[in-house]
Symmetry: C2
Subunit: 211 residues, 2 copies
Amino acid sequence: MKLNIPKPSISRICMVYHLLGELQEAGEIYASSTQIGETLGIGAHSIRKDISYLGDFGNTGARYNIAKLREHINNKLNMNKPRKACIVGLGRLGSAILNFKQFSKRGYNIVAGFDSNVNKLETLKTPIKLYPAYRISEIIRLEQIELAVLAVPSEAAQVSADRLLDGGIKGIVNFTPTIIKTERKDVFISNIDVVKEFRILSAMIDLSHHE
Amino acid sequence: MKLNIPKPSISRICMVYHLLGELQEAGEIYASSTQIGETLGIGAHSIRKDISYLGDFGNTGARYNIAKLREHINNKLNMNKPRKACIVGLGRLGSAILNFKQFSKRGYNIVAGFDSNVNKLETLKTPIKLYPAYRISEIIRLEQIELAVLAVPSEAAQVSADRLLDGGIKGIVNFTPTIIKTERKDVFISNIDVVKEFRILSAMIDLSHHE
């Protein structure tokens, strides 16, 4: 079955999936769309609409069975399919992310780290294989890596991204403030920028004062 | 003038503002909504609608004057108002963020770092003042800090957030995978989670294969 889901809905469904996991761990059995929406700061209507994109869930009452809804999302979006990922740029931020423990729990296998500084490759202590940056395309292709975190200095962002794209990467989480340019429509990029988040929060703080 | 702008629009306007700055630095004078939209992966119609929320810009042609649009956004959303911020949790990730150079350029002044480990406070080399975690509320209040980055271990997320909220924080960028619970409607929280981003990208990769 082909699903055609708008990107913001995919993003919200992933948040819902994540929250359902938390509720499940806390021993909850049911959750209403209102409750889910309030926790996530999203309207209950959006939650219901997003879930409807996944096809008929056969929900009969006002509440969702948490375990069943989670399984439904998982079946439709293949949440736990194992995927290979890499970290490009092993400065403070990149090496912090390299050591995140959540990845393997969620099915993401970090199989490579890259940096242009060879000294860094020799001194970093990690069980993950590290390579010089010029080997990015080769290793992506060889290892069939699908996902990358980009944590290089801003001026190296586009060059590094081009190497990832050459190797056939499918998704990039871009931690640099540079907007990556690509003609490819089949590669997905998420931009994460703390300064941008500060800006969004600042605008919301100011706008809420006007009310 | 009271502006009533939906949160996703605020987020997109901030992305547009950021891109305009890049285009300006690259020496560009004009940009169309199509061009902006394509670079950001957003429809041109959304771009125009988002900008219209800021009131009449008096755009007469098909293209925006980059400098003028940037100034317009800045006037309406007060993009460069200086604000105080802090980092809570000074592990690898928190201490990486503590040293980001982009903050001060954008008007964000990191005035405090917090950690529950007193050894860490003594060994970290930074010009920024560091405090033990139990002083969070006090320092937020005293320094009138508006924004915080939360980078503590997941199990400490809610406790740390409660301290921030007690101190009167207005916005939190939450790097923990824990969803922060609060009754306060005047506090804004952005959740940043690399694993969640991997999930979203994975879903988009899979869905694009179905097409």
